[in-house]
Amino acid sequence: MTDMSGNDERVKKMSGFRKALIRPELGGIIGTMAVFSFFLLFAFDSGMFSAQGVLNWSTVSAQFMIIAVGACLLMIAGEFDLSVGSMIGFAGMMIAIFGVVLAWPMWIAILVTFIICIAFGALNGYIVVRTGLPSFIVTLATLFILRGFTIFIPQTLESKTIIGGIREAAEGDWLAPLFGAKIGGPIFQWLGDNGWIGTFTSGNRAGQPVVDGIPMLIIWALFLVAVGHILLTRTRFGNWIFAAGGDAQAARYAGVPVDRVKILMFMFTAFCATVFAVCQVMEFGSAGADRGVLKEFEAIIAVVIGGALLTGGYGSVIGAALGALIFGVVQQGLFFANVESSLFRVFLGVILLLAVILNTYIRRLITGER
């Protein structure tokens, strides 16, 4: 793209430095460096940077990343989804109901759950674009509706709110390992045998490395970040997303199918939430009615730390991924640094505030907007 702009009067000339500064992920990059420096200083010998510790905060960050990618694209398209957390609980519960209570094959349970959840996402989007109501309100309603069903359905069918046995039901299934498996086992075994990572000293897993593979959760996170980033920056559809969130009316005049873009983004957010839920129930083997509480805000926080504008039209998937990384590292790192756990929210608030101020400051400084 840059080589075409050489003598095109429609393209404004800009120095490379300035270009680097107005990237939305700049704040995220600085924040990531600051957070890692901080924990390298204060928690270096606490086990945080051992293989096991790294896997711990990577997994937590990956969880945030999965929902942050969906929330990020949706926010750039100018809408919010507050039902993400409830959707996670609902999707997990649906898999348990279909796969365990109704004893369907697990791959059918997973596919049907995806279809139901994405349909709810589409419904969210359809109501928002049809009624013109703020997505904040529409998805707030979905938040309560889905959470209500997540408690009501298992209570009615099984008279309990946690349904287990999912791991056993998924045994031998062809689709389930895509969400619940760990990969790279032999490599970690080799690392453990050579003494580079810790091994179990007792019990029936003695001799095995404490980290026995990369969970699919992390692979999904990286995959979704890559797909989201390419979609947003390298495709026509990506431009439509920016346009729909920036100025919807202007975008319509320019021929952008704004409604379709928004509905698709709601569906993608629901898809991300469902991926999160499936990975979770496959790993832990049970679905609970309280899963995913407040995850919608964690997704939004990660996206905002990553430099996206709450008003839409501006943001980056890489930034959101970095925001998720910061969030995960801080959340788990504070435990490693032996900080009183009730102060976690204080730190979270401070980081959020600092990130938003920094992002706004940089953007005003560079773009000259007010």
Partner: protein, 316 residues
């Protein structure tokens, strides 16, 4: 840009420095981490925090308390994994959901970390994950004992105010109470939520719709405090048979004035205090009690309330 980053780092360091000093007084530097399933908002767990802090002081060991802020059990599993990665000498944890937590707990045990299960779970589950012991009050049994006591007092129907419906142990308490009474639980358990105003209004709505209800069972201060207000406002305080799990300042006052017949004390202080003592003596001298420890149930009635009142919400 660099100056701004420096400033940011400096601020972060200054803000954080007071919390970074860990109290390592004893020579052998033993560290124990207690992981609970309770959300930040559950006030009952304050007693647990005070219990481990006191035990830590007395035994000269470092103790830490960790919990998932929203009470999400999947987050709790991550915290146990994190705790294991930081290589403490022992982990004291609740076993609120066996399926979710057994994996991380077993992994910690296999790494050579001593684990004691407290509060939630059963002695059998504790043995299965390879824990040293279980310290707590078996929930179903406690509910059943309470139900039998209520049955002797002539109760035939009840309302169970469940403020933590997603935890299986809460439901077991209600189920045990119903079985103790010898009746079906059915619709007598309501999901009250955590908000005091909502709990109060839901209790009032249920009791207005079902005026024949003999008894109310609450599962802790979170649901008991608003329920006390509800029965007082409805003018049935003292008439309706009111029992509760756990103690707190309001509950003790209500036991005293006759609103509440009894409180089931599972003595959380012991659930936090004893594991630290057991672990420290195990690590130092290799001595270990041969059995699980039942910290409850004990029924607290209007008699002998002085000690309870003095320390309610702190150590009781």
């Amino acid at each position: 840009m660099t100056s701004m980053m420096k400033k940011l780092m400096l601020t972060a360091a200054v803000v954080a420095s007071p919390f970074m000093v860990s109290a390592q007084t004893s020579g052998d530097n033993l560290t124990y981490i207690l992981v609970s399933h309770a959300p930040d908002s559950d006030s009952w767990w304050n007693t647990i925090k005070n219990g481990i802090a006191l035990a830590g002081d007395q035994m000269g060991v470092t103790v830490e308390y960790r919990n998932p802020p929203t009470g999400d059990l999947a987050d709790m599993a991550r915290i146990i994994e994190q705790a294991a990665a930081s290589q403490p000498d022992g982990i004291i944890t609740t076993l609120a959901d066996f399926e979710v937590l057994s994996g991380p707990i077993k992994a910690a045990v296999d790494q050579g970390i001593d684990v004691i299960i407290m509060n939630s779970g059963t002695p059998a589950q504790a043995a299965e994950v390879g824990a040293l012991m279980y310290v707590g009050q078996p929930e179903y049994d406690a509910g059943q004992a309470a139900g039998q006591r209520a049955a002797r007092d002539g109760v035939t129907s009840f309302l169970c105010v469940n403020h933590y419906i997603s935890s299986p142990s809460s439901t077991e308490r209600c189920q045990g109470f119903a079985d103790g009474l010898g009746i079906e639980l059915g619709n007598q358990m309501i999901d009250s939520g955590q908000d005091p105003a909502e709990i109060k209004n839901r209790v009032m709505a249920y009791l207005s719709a079902n005026p024949d209800t003999d008894a109310v069972l609450t599962l802790g201060p979170t649901s008991a405090d608003p329920t006390i207000l509800a029965v007082k406002e409805m003018g049935i305080a003292g008439d309706i048979y009111f029992g509760t799990f756990d103690l707190g300042t309001e509950i003790v006052t209500a036991i005293k004035d006759g609103t509440i017949k009894w409180g089931i004390d599972q003595q959380p202080f012991l659930q936090a205090y004893l594991p630290v003592v057991v672990l420290a003596n195990w690590d130092r001298y290799g001595v270990l009690p041969g059995n699980n420890i039942n910290s409850g149930p004990g029924f607290v009635t209007a008699d002998a309330l002085t000690k309870v009142e003095e320390f309610a919400g702190e150590y009781r």
